[in-house]
């Protein structure tokens, strides 16, 4: 439906490649993420362990595959939820009249005044290790951005001659949304979604970094970074893996976003 630029295709290709790596790794690796071999720690990449082993002798390939899958899963889930909620509320806020708009405005102002990471931290502290809570928290933080953009764009569209003319010609609300509002907001929503995906990955990695939200032996990129950091001089290739993958995923999402935020 939308024409994509070349850089957007590149972004999509990187993401798909990572997804394939993750799914392939999860499906075909003979190891599990927690299977240790304390006699074979921090091995360099070999035929048996394609990406080497970590400080517990666990297969890095398997762990990276799971970690990427986890990041993907959570970020996509957050992306869908927050874009859906944000868009719905954004449109409703404009269309629902002054009262709705004011009420939404208050909620959004409160949420905006709290740094997102802090909200996520608070939520993560409530239920350590619960992905449901992480997902809710990240979505709660992210939908506001969609709301603001969608609301601003929708306000323009609502007053546009095009929508006015459709209304005068007797078209219903769904039609007005489908023909006027959605085409106007969809590029922004798409861009925001791509940035949102990147942010979800960064947020999760940050939580891992402050030891909140994710419990071992789960493979998560931020937590792996912290765990492997002490070995940066002994086994730099290990530390590089989660870092490169985080950067790659975020970068790919940014590319996919096309426009800049």
């Amino acid at each position: 439906m939308m024409k994509m630029k070349k850089s957007q295709w590149v972004g999509l290709a990187i993401l798909l490649a990572l997804l394939a790596f993750s799914l392939g790794g999860m499906a075909f690796s003979p190891y599990s993420i927690s299977q240790q071999d304390l006699n074979a720690i921090m091995e360099s990449p070999s035929a048996i362990h394609w990406l080497g082993t970590d400080h517990f002798g666990r297969s890095m390939f398997t762990r990276m595959a799971h970690a990427v899958g986890l990041s993907f899963g959570l970020s996509l889930l957050c992306m869908f939820t927050s874009s859906l909620v944000g868009t719905a509320f954004g449109v409703w806020s404009v269309w629902g009249g002054k009262k709705v708009d004011v009420a939404m405005g208050i909620v959004v102002n409160i949420l905006l005044a709290l740094p997102g990471l802090v909200v996520v931290l608070l939520f993560a502290a409530i239920a350590p290790g619960s992905f449901l809570v992480l997902y809710l928290a990240i979505s709660l933080v992210q939908w506001v951005e969609y709301f603001r953009v969608v609301r601003a764009v929708t306000q323009g569209v609502i007053q546009s001659p095009a929508r006015q003319s459709s209304r005068m010609m007797g078209f219903g609300r769904w039609y007005q949304f489908k023909r006027h509002i959605w085409p106007a907001i969809s590029p922004s929503v798409f861009t925001l979604a791509a940035f949102g995906g990147a942010n979800a990955i960064l947020t999760m990695a940050s939580l891992g970094f402050v030891y909140v939200g994710i419990q071992p032996p789960l493979a998560e990129l931020g937590l792996m970074t912290v765990e492997l950091f002490p070995y940066y001089s002994e086994a730099p290739w290990l530390l590089a893996q989660p870092l490169v993958v985080i950067a790659l995923m975020v970068f790919a999402f940014h590319l996919l976003a096309g426009k800049r935020a």
């Binding site: 927690s34 240790q36 304390l38 517990f56 071992p216 912290v226 950091f229 002490p230």
Partner: protein, 518 residues
């Protein structure tokens, strides 16, 4: 509005800001006259009952008695002490010419004042069977007990019972200024991160050579390692074992590994339906590859521990136990199958349709614990036990004990918290099925009786006999499973000499340190 001043104003503002920054460059302690220490623990209060461990280690606060490296009581602010025949009256003769940091002279009244206040606060003194604490003249303090209590000396050596100047306390007994008697006095107190102390010239003992010492809380293990490597911190405590090899390669510092009476142990809920049989506990113990953990995870070969108390506490350490001893009872598989556990198709243990699943909680304050928990999780997985690891706050352990929700906890227990391990043994295994940091839902009347007897035993031979018996019971019954003895990893910059490690973690011995002359 003119356009021109717009960026001129920006320039102006930025120059002011940078000016301010330059001014904040402070005088006083500099890196050349300060020994800087970095460790994980925060402090929030001046109260010795709360954060006394920091003040006693930084040598601001001292206690009546001290503990030497062997765990024996030695004189400190009390130059001598006597116990009466009935063991119910302890008399302490105070050292003369000891000055508090506020300049006042320490006397019996001040000591009694401090101890009475400490008694009202959280700490070991509160539970001691004390009838009265009173001054006898200017330089003696008498404590009378309701029953014999051999632990009193060790309790008094605890940091919570540090002696402060009477002027240090406010009306509500809260501590307003930390006027202790140590070789260093507080110079800057910036909770929760920074404490700077300055050499106290009127110290009664060995006067410090280094003018200032700073303590900086470094929450992140990796950041502490970097501080050591960069030379920013002279002494770094609690190093992450993972970083040891790279630290050992550095030539600006020396890593010192010291065993301390702290043991990494698994606290088991012996009332749990999976764990109430000793065979299950033994199986879990046997499944742990202690050597592997010591070598691969903790990176200190030889630190594996079969017993709860370390060899240094010889009264409580069984010499005849080796790593093979326990395997005489069977293998994990045989023990578990004798309990009706069998492996299912996935290789996991199952009994009457129920999987062998446990939740192991531990806390992040000590970096090793998480790593050890991860290793244990995998090793138990190998015998078919599924373990869910939860990293939480240390308070969850006491809380889980109280509300009965705890299943397994991995902890680092300090048996030298009170210099005589008996204190900890009593609270951990004494009665009522154990203590917050000890056994859980596990009662052994023989052990309880023995420990009670020890409280009143002063004859070393019979003391050792009873203690050995208790240690044997603990080894056989496994209410707690030891994993490894704790080795404190400390890096010391080579510009410092005279570093000494206190296994009881009471003092950093700052006053013995000197800068190496270049």
């Amino acid at each position: 509005m003119k356009v021109m001043p717009f960026y001129k104003r920006i320039l102006f503002c930025s120059s002011i800001l940078f000016g301010l920054l330059a001014v904040t460059a402070c005088s006083g302690p500099t890196s050349s006259n300060t020994v800087s220490i970095s460790a994980a623990f925060e402090f929030t209060s001046l109260d010795p009952s709360k954060n006394g461990y920091i003040f006693s280690r930084m040598q601001v606060v001292e206690t009546l008695l001290d503990v030497n490296e062997k765990g024996l009581l030695i004189p400190a602010l009390a130059k001598d002490w006597q116990v009466s025949e009935d063991a119910r009256t302890w008399t302490f003769d105070l050292r003369d010419d000891v000055y508090f940091h506020d300049g006042t002279l320490m006397n019996a009244e001040a000591v009694v004042n401090s101890l009475l206040i400490a008694q009202t606060k959280h700490g070991a003194l509160r539970n001691a069977p004390i009838n009265s604490i009173s001054a006898a003249g200017d330089s003696s303090v008498v404590i009378s007990l309701s029953r014999p209590y051999t632990l009193l000396g060790a309790v008094l050596a605890n940091y919570a019972n540090g002696i402060l100047s009477p002027a240090a306390y406010g009306n509500d007994e809260e501590v307003l200024a930390l006027s202790g008697t140590g070789p260093y006095k507080v110079f800057q107190f910036a909770p929760p991160h920074k404490l700077v102390v300055e050499k106290f010239d009127d110290y009664w003992g060995k006067k410090a050579s280094i003018p200032f010492a700073s303590y900086l809380t470094g929450h992140r293990a990796e950041s502490r390692v970097l501080q050591a490597k960069s030379g920013q911190a002279d002494i770094v405590f609690g190093l992450d074992p993972a970083s040891l090899p790279s630290l050992q390669r550095m030539d600006i510092l020396t890593v010192s590994s010291n065993s301390i009476p702290r043991t990494i142990v698994l606290k088991l809920n012996s009332g749990h339906r999976f764990l109430n049989d000793v065979r299950a506990r033994q199986a879990l113990s046997l499944a742990i590859d202690r050597k592997g953990i010591a070598k691969g995870v903790l990176r200190i070969p030889g630190s594996e521990a079969e017993q709860i108390l370390p060899a240094s506490m010889s009264n409580w350490h069984l010499d005849n136990v080796t790593s093979e001893t326990e395997s005489e009872v069977g293998t994990p598989e045989s023990l578990l199958s004798s309990l009706g556990w069998n492996k299912n198709a996935n290789g996991m243990l199952e009994r009457e349709g129920e999987l062998f699943e446990l939740t192991l909680i531990t806390y992040a304050d000590r970096p090793e614990l998480t790593a050890v928990a991860t290793a244990i999780q995998a090793q138990w997985q190998a015998i078919g036990v599924t373990t869910k690891v939860e990293i939480t706050n240390s308070s969850a352990i006491a809380m889980g004990h109280q509300d009965g929700s705890l299943e397994v906890a991995l902890i680092a227990r300090n048996y030298g918290f009170i210099a005589d391990p008996l204190g900890v043994m009593l609270s951990d295994f004494g009665s009522n099925g154990g203590g917050d940091w000890g056994a859980m839902n596990w009662n052994n009347s023989a052990l309880s009786a023995d420990l009670m007897t020890l409280e009143q035993t002063s004859d070393p031979v019979s003391y050792k006999e009873i203690a050995q018996r208790s240690a044997q019971i603990l080894f056989n019954q496994r209410p707690m499973i030891p994993v490894s003895s704790y080795v404190q990893q400390t890096s010391v910059n080579n510009r410092i000499k005279g570093f000494r490690y206190d296994p009881f973690e009471r003092s950093f011995y700052l006053n013995e340190m000197e800068f190496v002359k270049p």
